[in-house]
Symmetry: none
């Protein structure tokens, strides 16, 4: 991929619209009938688009690498996913829509059961329900607001899991986990891996000590384990690098968080209904020139192993969403995903993802319908790295000038 700096020097601003539709995890592998989810779906509108597009199979990170949602999305947004690492703690905070700031350190936490000798009996405190978790985080938050100059935020996530954010001067995420990931041993002290993280380690250890004493009588959740300290990454916004005015239409917190990370405005959809996402797109169409339009449940059904539901959702998007988007007549409509989630495998996978770019300025290839293998065999872009996608979208919306004379 060409560097962001290189692209930045070629940017031309115009009002041509780019719609990036991410059908999360839509890529698959064949079922017993020999067809992937996409191939099984009756999707005449996706077929029409594919037939008139330039297409290819993209590797979100690199051949053979299974991407998480973070790297999968960053590469589509034009950020090298190996350079811009989103730590687990940050992703957890993004996932609950916590308003992170530059410099924040976030860490994932478990409520755990400790015995009288401070040994871990259960790393998940009997999997207490979210409501119980919320009660515990509130108890702690009420008594701990700040340690030295550093603000502390503790928020429930789900079941026994919570997230803690540290906000203060000179914090570092070069810290070791306190979760030993084993039972029968005591929680670990947080240690610093770099002299600059000494202050952070001290604050973390004081936080744990205080929090443990607050919940010490709350058996089975009478202790805290922290893992995955990470800092909010320094990422230049898409506006600065790519000259875009970008907006995100997504219904799940993590994706909104990822979009915010690259400087998108997050539009309020008001529900998790894809028809409300469409409505949001229409209502805001004049205000932006780049729309990240995220469909979550293709991935959810893939992870559930629900091949048929994934197929039906593709069909529903094809029937209800795609024609309406075509009516908006964007200069670029891209259909792709952040990673494959084959229902057969019930998890994210390493398989290349379909990429379809529909534009009056595209040179369509020989693909005749929407299918990973049709695209893989006849796609004009061949097999390529997903971080090139933003450049293709900018190019086809005429937002890049000529390089050299």
């Amino acid at each position: 991929m060409i560097s962001q700096e290189f692209i930045k020097n070629l940017i031309v601003k115009n009002n041509n619209k780019i719609i990036l539709m991410v059908l999360d995890g839509v890529g698959g592998i064949p079922n017993k009938l020999g067809k992937t989810e996409i191939e099984t779906a009756y999707a005449p509108n996706f077929d029409f688009i594919t037939r008139n597009s330039i297409t290819g199979i993209a590797d979100p990170v690199s051949m053979g690498i299974t991407p998480g949602s973070g790297p999968g999305h960053l590469s589509i947004f034009g950020y090298d996913p190996i350079k811009y690492i989103i730590g687990r703690g940050i992703l957890a905070a993004l996932g609950i829509d916590f308003p992170l700031k530059q410099g924040d350190i976030a860490v994932r936490g478990n409520f755990a059961t400790l015995d009288s000798a401070n040994k871990i009996l259960d790393r998940r405190a009997g999997r207490i329900p979210t409501e119980h978790c919320k009660k515990l985080t509130e108890m702690i938050q009420n008594k701990i607001k700040k340690i030295y100059d550093t603000e502390i935020f503790i928020e429930p996530v789900m079941d026994y899991r919570f997230v803690t954010i540290f906000r203060g001067a000179d914090l570092s995420d070069k810290l070791t986990d306190t979760d030993p990931q084993a039972t029968g041993v005591a929680p670990l002290k947080c240690n610093f891996l770099d002299a600059k993280a000494k202050k952070s380690a001290k604050i973390v250890n004081e936080f744990i000590e205080k929090a443990n004493s607050i919940i010490k009588d709350q058996h089975p959740a009478n202790g805290l384990l922290l893992r995955g300290f990470s800092s909010y990454p320094e990422i230049k916004p898409m506006t600065e690098i790519y000259g875009l005015k970008p907006a995100a239409i997504a219904t799940y917190p993590m994706y909104k968080g990822l979009a915010k990370l690259v400087g998108m405005d997050i539009l309020d959809v008001g529900s998790t209904d894809i028809m409300d996402e469409l409505k949001t797109l229409k209502e805001n169409y004049d205000k932006y020139d780049f729309f990240y339009f995220h469909i979550k449940k293709t991935d959810t059904y893939g992870e559930d192993g629900n091949f048929d539901a994934k197929v039906r959702l593709i069909e529903e998007v094809d029937e209800k969403i795609v024609p309406e988007i075509l009516k908006l007549n964007p200069t670029v409509l891209t259909i792709t995903c952040d990673h494959s989630t084959p229902a057969i495998m019930k998890q994210h996978s390493f398989h290349g993802v379909p990429f379809v770019l529909f534009s009056p300025y595209a040179r369509p290839d020989r693909t005749e319908y929407f299918s990973e293998r049709e695209i893989g065999t006849k796609g004009g872009l061949g097999r390529f790295e997903a971080k090139n996608e933003i450049v293709l979208m900018l190019a086809h919306s005429l937002k890049l000038k000529k390089f050299g004379a």
Copy 2:
């Protein structure tokens, strides 16, 4: 390619088996009938595998580069062949199965004919036979065991060629050849290219002086010429980088040497018969999770220009070996080669090589039979660099976890 360090952090150990079948030099170009060796062979089992695999054409080093066996294999094994250079001396020593150690310096040698004024009359000493060469190396070895602290090993290779290994402290291969590659001039002194190689140059020059005096009456082979000083490369074993327990099934010394270089166990086949290779695979199948299965003679017949023999060998492997390997039911079976050796060209070539990966977790592409051009046109991996192959093999055997959350 993603870095080895990156992959290392994603490794998950399991007992899923990977069989990597390298049909040395099997790739070809069409003969007068318009078919390559692979295309000419009747190989229904290879066809079956190809039809149900993800495939592509790989460049072992880079487009247009003809690889030697060293770089060709290293890239398949997951080592960047441009970064890990196997010097000629080292390759020669591996080729005669010399037990090299870290720190060794090896160099290729010719016995040559010198005149009374020490000028080279014949760089190859009238191409003396191997037996004569062996007699000379023994004469020298009997009188020279050590120079200062450095052990000297001199071993015959073939005809007038031998190899010398220097084993001692602080040796360096930053040395110039003594072979001027011309006649009518005197052999060159070995010079050091780096201050750290000063000791090595001194040892080499003393070795040559002593050896020359030992064989001075052995006309026509009365002098030594050395070229290609190289040190045993520092390569982290596959076990450390890729978490594999790898074994090599190969019958020729150079390939065993290359496998040993990357930390494989070398299994004793006991003959050069491919049926004994199969037997060895079966007998050791439970003990390893990665098998490098090398078929040598496809390359030999290619170099001989024997198109038909190459075709027949492909058919033989298809008939006798492939069905038995399929019965073992490995999670990944890869069919590829380290470079093409078109019989038409009688040498290694720069043509892309077929890569076929058969696995229950593969997304098969549109290829219908085993053919360089079928794969090149319809292969789902497109054209790619061979150093990605190890990542694909690890991915399809579920030995890599997700990158990022």
